[in-house]
Structures are given as structure tokens and as C-alpha cells.
Subunit: 344 residues, 2 copies
């Protein structure tokens, strides 16, 4: 049997929706002729999804494991029911449907990362073997299904599994910097977590030698890391949840030089307005964070008479994994930092 | 006393936020030297806010009035606590702060419409005199405050108050069509309510003579109206809440000719994916509807491997009211339809 390219044949309820919007999907490991079966090595939930679950479980690793198992048992996929967010996974190809034989260069046994969200990927967890609360990676014995429209990439050998997984999870962010930012631009990156650091590194390359890269980050410790990595021209310690205070800090450092491109990577709510305030009307805002609230961004911008285009983040862009890998290969200090952080 | 241009001096709680994000603002009718006091004639809540309240009140006009009064009493502004959405108002200028005397051409007594959202406009309702459930206009005795950054427009004499109010409420939608759509484009407008009809009329002008305008609308009755107005080349009766079915209907009519620009104006949830599915990757999606869910749009697009840029709607764009008025003046049938619908 040949399935729908988007996977709607696996939707159990409600019918008529695609897998991402569905409550429950069929996670049985018997594949259609245009599906790929994967032996899962590890899940990388999004910071938003993992953070929500971790908080609910008081940081207790056993309770986090139980909660993840429960979500997947109930839904047939890993999608945090509160934030709707998923993540990605790495694994080995176990079986390739006959109809895909000619159209893919992957082979059984290849180690790959899926680049479509876990929130739509049929997943059956037999056992969670360990969770690294620090890197937010979930190691497990599990099987997953990739649809015909699903995308994946072979893991690069030089970076290692854990680092590759960590990078691919947020590769949609630096990809947008790569396609929107040009020489001479003033670029602001709000939030200097994993996605933010990659955006800073990518922005640094794109604006050079005439532009400026500004990092706006809440934590003094993380600000120090950004300074030591040398990937921002200006590092502002500011709380983007307080829009007027954040704008004040920005203007004290940069005067009226607002941003041509601002990317928000903060995984907590209520940072929309500060992001808009530091951006020119003729510029662009990219909300990569899944904590973004549509109405807060829309009405917030209108309320301050800003008409800067605001883009909804997208985890996918053609070649996005390659862009993220390239940034890390180029920036030696960043690579060392990520390696220490994500490779145990 | 001079207030903050963005109105933060009127925020009661939580402090540090701007009025739109605040729970409660100070609605006292004593103005700062850079504020404008307005004698309100009528409110035009957004379709999203009014629809939510109307549903909760079972369509009962007295209960709707009570609910609106209660919201404004509690918050000092009209912002639906569930959808966070507001609307706009019309009124007469009662007082202009001394510091604004030189910078505005408005005079005391002028009839204006505010173009910033009610969700951030200090408002004190003394009495709701009547509500038109059909046009969703709320007539009342009330006072409102406009901040220095606030925008407003004098009401055009040729269109009348009620029609002008109805048009300005959604003027941000056709304005984006006007700046993004060009000759030869294929444009899809999802939803043919007030905003949708204006977008269709604007798109028709912009794509001519070489492009195509497609209307996707759920209600057969509304489809018939669009056909009679002659503002769409193709009218598709389709439920955008069912993405695969909607795509199927689209492709039956248009084959693989996906949209260069799609604007979503539907005021119900779960229409994100259909909107994305009918749009080219090299095109653009504009989510004007306040019912849009950020995560559903973001993860939905990623899940089907679409990387089309998706813009967050904004009620403001320079000259947007003029663009909406112009569309109605140009399209005689549309003007007649709106006049019948909104002018009692």
C-alpha cells in the first residue's frame, strides 16, 4: 500500500487533518511502500517542549522520562500537548519502502537525522534508556516513520552524532539569517542559546566587513560566553520581557541605529515587543521561537505604529542543516564551545 | 505632565509593560500634554473579539453589552481577555494636549477614527446605547485617550461614518495586498468576509491585466456574493479547516498553479495549513486573521516541507485607510454591497 505523501493515512483522529495537527497517529512499524522505517538512537525535543516538561516534572529525570513515554503512548508521536512543539531525532534506516528505492540516495544502515518535526512523526518508544537534562537529548529504543514528503540528512562524520543533532534541531534559524542578511546590515539576535549563537555566527559572516552584529541576552553568564566566542560586535545584557527597558539599553549603546534584521530565539513568552522595538520599519523581524504569540506580535507592533514585516519561524529551509554545520566548522571557538556543551 | 509616547505612563499593572500587553490601564479622562481626548461615537470590535463574546453570550444583545461593559470596567480598555483582540473606534476630538498643537492638523470637534487597536486605548464607557449584532458596531457614550504615538484619520465625508468605520477596522489587510502583489501574480484570498472582500478588490487591481485572483470561501452564500461583485476570477467553495480537501478543490480548478501571494482573513481557528498548501515556496503568505496560531503555522509549514515566508498580520501600514477607501470608491458594486451591509 502507498500512503499519502504528507502522511494523512496515519492520522487516527481527528480525520481530515494532517499528522502535525492530529491528536493521534498510527505509529505501527509496518511501513507503506513510500515510507521509511527508522531505528531511533535519540530524540532532541525542542527547547520549548523539553523546557515545559522539565518544569512540570520539577527537573526530575525519571518523571521527565515517564511524561515523554506517556505523551508518545497516547499520541503515537512526540508532541508536547501544551506547547504543540516537537523536535527531531537521529537513528539508522531500517527499511526503505519499495516505491522510494530510486528517489533516495539513502541506504539501509545509514545514520540519519530527520528534519521534519517530531510533532508529526509516528514514533513508538519501547524504552527510554537515558536522558541528558543538560543537552535535552533523550536516548531510547524506538521506531519512527518518515513519510514520502519527510526530509532527513545523513549525519556528517566530522561533527559527531550529538553535536549534529543539537545543531540540526535549530538549523532553521541561521538559515534565515543566511538568506536575509547582507553586507552592511545591523543585525540583532535576541537570546543567545543554541539557536542564537548559530545566528550570531552566521550574521557575523554575512554583515562583514561593513555591518554590525548585536546580541541581546538576559543572562550575564551567557553574555560572557558570547563575548568570549567573538561572534558579536555588541553584547547587551537586557531582559527582552521588559520592552521599554530593553529598548533603553539598546539605544544607550547604539543610539538611533535600529536593526535591519532581528531574529528572536528566546524560548520564554513575552519578548515580542522588545524584538519589534529595536527593528527599523524598513527592516524585518524573524520570530524563530516557538514561544511567540501571534496576537502579541501583531497587536504589539500595531500599537506602537510599527509596520516592519514579521516572519513566522519555520524549522525548514533548503540546505539549512548544511548552513548550520558550516557555521560551526568556520567558527573554531563556537565549535569548541558546542562540543564541550553537547558531546559527553 | 507629558506622558510616554507609547502610553506606558497609563499602565496600572503589570508595570514595565506597554498598554497593549497590560492587564489594566488608567482610563481617566484627564489628559497629559501629549495626549488627545476623544468623545466616542461607536466602537468597532474586531470580528475575532466580537465573535468570541457573541458566542459566549448566546447572541443575546443585552448580555453582549454587559460583557463589553465589564471588560472595559475591569481593564480600562476594550481588549477581549480570551483572544486579546481589540478593534477601533470613531469619535470627535474633545481636547488636544498643548504639546501636540503644532504637530497635528486635527482640531477640536473633528470626527476621526483611531487606527491603533482598542486593546491599548484607554477607554471609559458611561453607557452603551445600542449594539448592531450584524455589523458588530457598539454605539456608546464614552471617552478614549490617544497617545502621542497613536494614529487616527479624519473620516472621509463621501463614505459616511459607519462604512468608514467598517473599512478602517480591517484596512491593514488590503494594504499588504497593495504593497506585495504585482501584475501577473496568482493571488489567493482565504475567507470572503469584510477584510477578504477588500483584499480581493485590491488584488484584482494589482494583478491586472495578466494575473489571477482566487477566492476560497466556506459559505455558499458568501461565494455567491463574491461572484456577483465581480472581484475574483475563480471562486472556490472550500473549507480551509480541512487542508487536504481544500487543496484538492484548489488543484481541481487550477492544477499546479499555486499562489504567489495568499492572504488569510478567516476569523476561525485551524485554517493555517490550507493557506500554506495553496502557496508557492517562492511566494508569500500573509496571516491577517487574529485567529492564527503561531505554532500551527510554523510547525504545519515545516511538516509539509514548505518554506514560503509567512508574515504576521499587522493592523497598521502607512496610508492603509486611504488604500481601503480607494478600493471601495473604485469598485461600485462592492461599495453598494458594503453600504447596504454597514449603513443602516
Amino acid at each position: 500500500m502507498r500512503g499519502d505523501p504528507y502522511g494523512s493515512h496515519r492520522v487516527i483522529s481527528p480525520k481530515g487533518l494532517l499528522p502535525q495537527a492530529a491528536e493521534r497517529v498510527d505509529n505501527s512499524p509496518t511501513i507503506c511502500s513510500n515510507e521509511i522505517l527508522i531505528d531511533v538512537i535519540a530524540l532532541q525535543p525542542t527547547a520549548t517542549a523539553f523546557g515545559r516538561i522539565k518544569q512540570e516534572c520539577g527537573g526530575d529525570v525519571n518523571r521527565i522520562a515517564q511524561e515523554i513515554q506517556k505523551i508518545v503512548d497516547e499520541r503515537g508521536k512526540f508532541q508536547d500537548p501544551v506547547t504543540k512543539s516537537g523536535g527531531i531525532l537521529i537513528g539508522r534506516i531500517k527499511e526503505i519502502g519499495a516505491d522510494l528505492a530510486g528517489s533516495t540516495d539513502a541506504q539501509v544502515g545509514d545514520k540519519i537525522a530527520t528534519l521534519v518535526s517530531l510533532s508529526l512523526t509516528p514514533l513508538k518508544i519501547n524504552e527510554i534508556t537515558s536522558i541528558d537534562v543538560d543537552t535535552e537529548q533523550v536516548f531510547c529504543k524506538a521506531s519512527a516513520i518518515l513519510f514520502e514528503s519527510g526530509i532527513y540528512t545523513k549525519l556528517p562524520e566530522d561533527l559527531g552524532d550529538q553535536l549534529s543533532l543539537a545543531l540540526m534541531d535549530v538549523a532553521g534559524a541561521p538559515a534565515q539569517v543566511a538568506v536575509h542578511v547582507k553586507a552592511g546590515d545591523t543585525v540583532v539576535v535576541v537570546g543567545a542559546g543554541k539557536a542564537g549563537l548559530l545566528c550570531l555566527a552566521e550574521a557575523k559572516k554575512r554583515v562583514a566587513p561593513t555591518g554590525k552584529v548585536i546580541c541581546m541576552e538576559y543572562s550575564p553568564r551567557q553574555c560572557e560566553i558570547v563575548r568570549s566566542l567573538g561572534i558579536a560586535d555588541v553584547v547587551l545584557e537586557a531582559d527582552a520581557k521588559k520592552p521599554l527597558e530593553a529598548l533603553d539599553i539598546y539605544q544607550n549603546a547604539l543610539g538611533d541605529q535600529l536593526a535591519d534584521f532581528t531574529v528572536n530565539t528566546v524560548s520564554v513568552p513575552n519578548t515580542e515587543l522588545a524584538t519589534v522595538l529595536v527593528t527599523k520599519d524598513t527592516g524585518m523581524v524573524y520570530f524563530f521561537s516557538m514561544s511567540t504569540d501571534f496576537a502579541k506580535a501583531s497587536l504589539g507592533a500595531e500599537g506602537i505604529k510599527k509596520y516592519v514585516p514579521m516572519l513566522i519561524g519555520n524549522g525548514y529551509y533548503p540546505g539549512h542543516a548544511e548552513i548550520a554545520f558550516d557555521a560551526v566548522r568556520r567558527e573554531e571557538k563556537l565549535r569548541d564551545y558546542f562540543t564541550k556543551r553537547y558531546c559527553k
